[in-house]
């Protein structure tokens, strides 16, 4: 699912609410019918909800492999097993040859791949990607889109916050549009982009 909206619409706040970084003052957050509202982020991660951050948050002075191994500990008791799982994920996400580099030495695209790998290492059912294409050039956006599609094919439900409409249209089955903290439209991508409320939210009154 794609989650879009103008800046300040509340998209990242939704992610923070779902993943426990912000406690809801009202309303519900449910995962497969179970309420997870108010739980701590680590507990929600253990239930199978993983995320990336709008501004990447690598463990900067650790190696790429150690970044992912730490996350793999959630599902693997022993270090050798966790390291094997981390190695496989790094290969899958195109970071196979960079395992020994420090995370802070990677370029932005690779740091975003690393963050996805780290999130996937927790074995999630749902993966929340917060602007994974922010700051990337067009060819990198294409590569990132393919990566996200590959993750979906792996059986993980993906919720994608993005401003790159091309990627949203390509990847999403459904799109939800937010504005000023509220849902203003939801449906198939092709229908949502023609919705007058969506056009007005992005381009202002009278543009629809």
């Amino acid at each position: 699912m794609g989650l879009i909206g103008p800046n300040g619409a509340g998209k990242t706040t939704v992610f923070n609410l779902v993943t426990g970084f912000v406690r809801p003052s009202s309303g519900e957050v449910r995962l497969a019918g179970e309420s997870i509202a108010g739980k701590k982020p680590h507990a929600i991660a253990r239930k199978g909800v993983a995320r990336t951050f709008q501004i990447v948050k690598p463990f900067a002075r650790l190696s790429v492999k150690e970044n992912v191994t730490l996350a793999a500990f959630l599902r693997h008791r022993s270090r050798p097993e966790a390291e094997d799982a981390a190695g496989a994920l790094l290969e899958r996400l195109g970071l196979g040859g960079r395992g020994e580099k420090l995370a802070m030495e990677l370029n932005l695209m690779d740091q975003k791949r690393l963050e996805m790998a780290r999130a996937l290492a927790t074995g999630p059912r749902v993966l929340l990607l917060d602007e994974p294409m922010g700051g990337l050039n067009p060819s990198e956006v294409g590569a990132a889109s393919e990566l996200v599609e590959a993750i979906r094919r792996g059986g993980v439900t993906v919720v994608l916050v993005e401003h790159v409409m091309k990627a949203i249209m390509r990847i999403s089955d459904r799109v939800l549009v937010m504005h000023h903290g509220e849902r203003i439209a939801e449906g198939a991508p092709a229908d949502v982009v023609k919705d007058p409320a969506v056009v007005e939210a992005y381009f202002g009154h009278g543009a629809a």
């Binding site: 970084f21 948050k57 730490l70 420090l102 999130a119």
Partner: protein
């Protein structure tokens, strides 16, 4: 040098150090060594929380003083010998650190540091005012220690050797604990927390629990050092064991030596103890200026600490063994 090689080398070094009193009989030299071991223990204790987990505490004097007072009170009021009182003092410090951590770790960064400072000041006020428990500003004086025989030999409490060996064992325990932590899953979690706490939570690490367990470990080591202080110096009052200077000294030793390393606090304790004593001898009361200058120079030009820089050079010169970014020796 990593793993078993480092462990074996450490064991050999400790055994060698244990033999020093057999060849060195100068009381002042042994006294300096005892101070180094005591401060190295305190530096290691602080390093567990500050170096590995990145949680800067300015209040470890509270745990030091708690261990000291627990040991003194158990001995003077309940006739519990200090060698039992010291570990009990450590446990008392660990026990107090748990609820403190559960509250303080809700805060991050400088707010956490200030909270620890407040706890230490609170502890000092308690010690000054709860005279029924702590003797208030008068403190406790231990005039004699109970007899103790080890391997059939009586301990001569007027000599330095028994305290030297006790301090060495305490430091060995502290360093061994830090070495074990650095290669454990908890140690890896602490490094993740230090690097980015939000990301650590996002990958399923219970950061508060990890920090509280670490604080308890740090508290235990700090508390036993406090207990040793009572055993060795035989006098404590709130000013002696609960002052901010002790907390700051622990920070300096870990920072100057090398945060997040096993040997760093020992190197820091060696440098600061000998630097402090040297300038005190030459400049009397003005020694604090040179002490402060030394620390500023190290922090400015060797931000990773003396051992931190040295171990990087050693790593560069020797074949690559361990993964980058893992806690160093």
């Amino acid at each position: 040098m990593k793993g078993r090689g480092a462990l074996a080398a450490g064991g050999v070094a400790l055994l060698a150090a244990a033999g020093l009193p057999l060849v060195v009989h100068n009381s002042f030299v042994l006294h300096l060594c005892i101070l180094v071991f005591l401060w190295a223990t305190l530096g290691e204790a602080w390093n567990v929380l500050g170096g590995f987990a990145g949680q800067v505490s300015f209040g470890h004097a509270a745990l030091f003083g708690l261990g000291a007072y627990a040991t003194a009170i158990l001995y003077l009021r309940a006739e519990v010998a200090p060698w039992w009182g010291i570990p009990l003092g450590g446990l008392a410090a660990a026990a107090v650190s748990v609820p403190t951590g559960l509250v303080a770790f809700r805060l991050r960064g400088p707010y956490f540091s200030l909270a620890t400072l407040a706890v230490a000041e609170l502890m000092k006020l308690v010690a000054l005012n709860w005279e029924w428990a702590t003797n208030g500003p008068t403190g406790f004086l231990i005039t004699s220690l109970p007899p103790l025989h080890l391997l059939g030999l009586p301990m001569d409490w007027e000599a330095k050797a028994p305290f030297y060996l006790a301090a060495l064992a305490m430091m060995g325990l502290a360093m061994g604990t830090v070495a074990a932590l650095s290669s454990s899953r908890l140690g890896a979690y602490l490094v993740a927390i230090r690097e980015n706490e939000d990301a650590a939570e996002a990958v399923g690490i219970d950061t508060v629990r990890a920090k509280v367990v670490t604080l308890a470990l740090s508290g235990f080591l700090t508390g036993i050092a406090g207990g040793f202080y009572v055993l060795y110096f035989r006098y404590i009052d709130p000013d002696a064991v609960l002052n901010l200077g002790i907390s700051m000294e622990m920070v300096f030793i870990a920072v100057v030596g090398g945060l997040g390393t096993v040997l760093g606090p020992l190197v820091g304790a060696l440098c600061l103890t000998f630097a402090g004593e040297t300038v005190r001898e030459r400049f009397g009361a003005g020694h604090l200026i040179f002490y402060g200058l030394f620390m500023m120079l190290v922090i400015r030009f060797l931000p990773e600490g003396i051992w931190g820089r040295a171990s990087k050079l050693i790593d560069r010169l020797s074949p690559k063994e361990a993964r980058p970014g893992a806690p160093r020796g």
